[in-house]
Amino acid sequence: MNTIKLMLSATALTSVVASAVAAETTFRYGFQGSLGSLDPYSLSETFTLGTLTNVYEGLTRRDENLQIQPGLAESWEIIEPTRWRFNLRQGVKFHNGNDFTAADVVFSANRVRSEGSDLKARIPTDAEFIAVDDHTVDVVLSSANPILHSEWHTWMIVDQEWTVTTDSVQVTTAADTSVTTISQETNGTGPFMIAEHTTGVETNFTANAGWWGWNGKAPNVDRVEFKTIAADATRVAALLSGEMDLVYPVPPQDIGRVESNAATSALVGPELRTIFLGMDQARDVLTYSNVTDANPLQDVRVRQAFYHAIDAVAISARIMRGQATPSALMLAPSLFSGSGAFERLAYDPELSKQLLADAGYPDGFEIQLDCPNDRYVNDEAICQAVAAMMARAGITVNVNAQPKAQFFARVLAAGGYDTSFYLLGWSPSSFDSWNVLTQLHGCRTQNEGTGPFNIGGYCNLKVDELAAQVLVENDAAKRDELIAQAYKMTTDDVAYLPLHQQGLAWGVSEKFSVAQRADNIFRFSLITAAK
């Protein structure tokens, strides 16, 4: 009898404790990938950096609509064309209690450009950082650069004193055999702190009540728990069963299921990533084709024929189940003011046949399409649809779908651009056209550093000239005009075959609402609990 009483009171006690814990809001989310090193300069990859921006902060931030907002810098101005002044936020403290000062910014600027950093491109190598006083930093450039700060929301500021004393100045690279503190622990200024981190399994965050951005209010949630759930079906099941408050990505075929469940809803929106097909225009003879004496893709008519043969609207509607928008440009329309002026070439297999005949291939030809099968949403299915569509125009496309690890090893520079026709996705890390013009359209032959992702080897010197002007033009209107000119040339040349902007799909519990950013970065401070 006594034991039963004891057990009863014990149960009562636990339920009291449980309700006290429940008053604290916990937000649980699952993503397909995992968090590797916690060093914010180790890997330039969206999920890693995006997650760490909840812990560390940059001088700037991006809001829900990706507009640049003040972060650790309250304001900035271009005092001379090549000299920027950043006024730092005062009274900000790192999680360990250290003050945030100009010295930390200068230190971080040097560290992010040091050996082993994967984020060297965030700052021009010859930019000089000068601490004017404790809360003012000047950046002196060798030439004007209107998009200097465009990627600084993911260049996070680390604490000089902490990094030095924990022996973490050297950026952790994969070649290191010793484990540094900064790759396993964090010390930022951001709204959340990492409480527990189990490599590749889960990471738990607790709110930093002293964060400047709460503006004196209590944090929106007290605790955030992240877990990796790699299998699509399991991830969706975890949301439907109420074990998770947010999961992403939700595969297109499961969106209906998430919507029809009363306790969950799907949050969909356009992503910045453009899915496109590229064509080898560099080699004199294609490697993977039955045309052995010439490269038909060097003829603009053949490239136009390819374009007209593909029904991108049908791909977006059927393969992507509406979770994509057909695109005419090689970057998301929201990132360029003049994108409305560009339109896709119409789907017209007859015209396509005509163009092929004009180019000397009345019976079409055979070509291999290289395609990843685990990188983009429905990537392999897109390639198969493309093959079926192009068959109608007389072009025989053999799809070669491979896991991303093998695919990238072959088609990128390290593999010697070993492809004739390929599918790729691109989102400009700076959210700006200059990135697209140089990385995807810049001539590869000029020097090794340019156009590293121009796998097809498209080359138009006039486009390169325009890109060089775009880089240094501080006047926004003039700059957009130059960009439009460059895009006019690349689309007339049919440098690429853009397909669509991939859609984002998150599954969210009705208990919370979250902000979905087009760059697929999830910011914890924008979670709101439903009342």
Binding site: G30, S34, G36, S37, D39, S42, L43, S44, E45, D118, L119, K120, A121, T172, T173, A174, A175, D176, T177, V179, S183, Q184, T198, T199, G200, V201, E202, K227, T228, I229, A230, A231, A233, T234, A237, A238, L240, S241, G242, E243, D374, P403, K404, A405, Q406, F407, F408, A409, L412, A413, A414, G415, S429, Q439, E448, G449, P452, F453
Partner: protein, 323 residues
């Protein structure tokens, strides 16, 4: 006897070395690790530098030699993805896999033997037919499908059991266990059934056929003729004699339970070594792949070695051939 064991151990070492070499040759075809280790915009020069630092430019046989000689000293290198020593990560993940394998083996035995006995004794009953049909499903359905079905029934619809993960774990020194917490126990049920289903049907069918065989033998008939109780004849005499092959198979299958856990761990996001291996394959994390394969090879070799030694102890004929 000692000579026999020593010879076996030398053979085992050779097997492990060969597995390591085969694995290394295969790694050439899984892709370029450097691509997975840097962001998209890292320059070609930086990529080359990293390749050089990692020793990926060295001939295969040199890389293999470095790996084997370091592994012999317990150093499996640093994971490309996580930038931490592989031995440390494997050590963290192994308890989860071993616990899952153990629980599913227990489930397979505890359910498989009674079902096997029942179906042997009451061959034509309705329940026997149900058991046999279920076992057919267990053998023919792939385990990822079984896992997903269980998740949709017990997690999404009934919401009784968690759909993924290990629940809360308790750290006992270097071993972390989920068997001491309520959430941990709930979390292991579905993965253990998924992983153990195949073994369960195997054991059930094995017990059934062995039992039917034994029931026909003379000593059982004689025992019946002596007027012994049916229960004693069935469980005291017949079942005991069916156990020898069952124990052998169960022991040998334990290795494959651990190896097959890869699929179950993926479906249930079970944070064990199988899931770690699969993610390593996707990300071309060569040090983890190599260490995992060696570990599995070691496990199989160890189990086989123990079985061999036990045979020698049990069966004098082998001992005679050896000497």
């Amino acid at each position: 006897m000692i000579a026999f064991v020593i010879r076996r151990i030398i053979q085992s070492i050779i097997v492990i070395m060969v597995v390591g070499l085969v694995a290394f040759v295969m790694f050439r075809f899984v892709g370029d690790p450097v691509n997975q280790m840097v962001g998209l915009e890292t320059s070609i020069a930086d990529r080359e530098l990293l390749r050089e630092q990692l020793g990926l430019n060295q001939p295969l046989i040199v890389q293999y030699w470095h790996f084997i000689s370091n592994a012999a000293q317990g150093d499996f290198g640093t994971s490309y993805q996580y930038r931490r020593p592989v031995s440390e990560i494997l050590g963290e993940r192994l308890p989860a896999t071993l616990e899952l394998a153990l629980v599913s083996a227990i489930f397979a035995i505890a359910a498989g033997i009674p079902m096997g006995v029942y179906t042997a004794l009451y061959r034509d009953s309705v329940l026997s037919n149900i058991f046999l049909t279920v076992s057919l499903i267990g053998i023919s359905l792939p385990s990822f499908l079984v896992g997903i079905l269980l998740i949709f029934i017990f997690s999404v619809h009934l919401q009784w059991l968690p759909s993924f993960g290990r629940g809360e774990v308790v750290d006992l020194g270097w071993w972390s266990t989920g068997l001491l917490t309520a959430t941990g126990l709930k979390a292991i049920i579905l993965p253990a059934i998924t992983l153990g289903l195949f073994q369960m049907t195997l054991i059930m069918r094995l017990v059934r056929s062995e039992m039917m065989e034994v029931l026909r033998t003379d000593f059982v008939k004689f025992a019946k003729a002596r007027g012994l109780k049916t229960r004693v004849v069935h469980f005291g005499h017949a079942l005991k004699n069916t156990m020898i092959p069952v124990i052998t198979i169960t022991g040998l299958q334990f290795g494959s339970i651990i190896a097959f856990a890869i699929i179950t761990e993926t479906v249930f996001q079970w944070p064990g070594s199988g899931l770690l291996f699969l993610q390593a394959v996707q990300n071309v994390d060569v040090p983890i792949m190599a260490a995992y394969l060696l570990m599995i090879a070691f496990l199989f070799v160890l189990i086989n070695l123990i079985v061999d030694v036990l045979y020698v102890v049990v069966d004098p004929r082998i001992r005679l051939e050896g000497s």
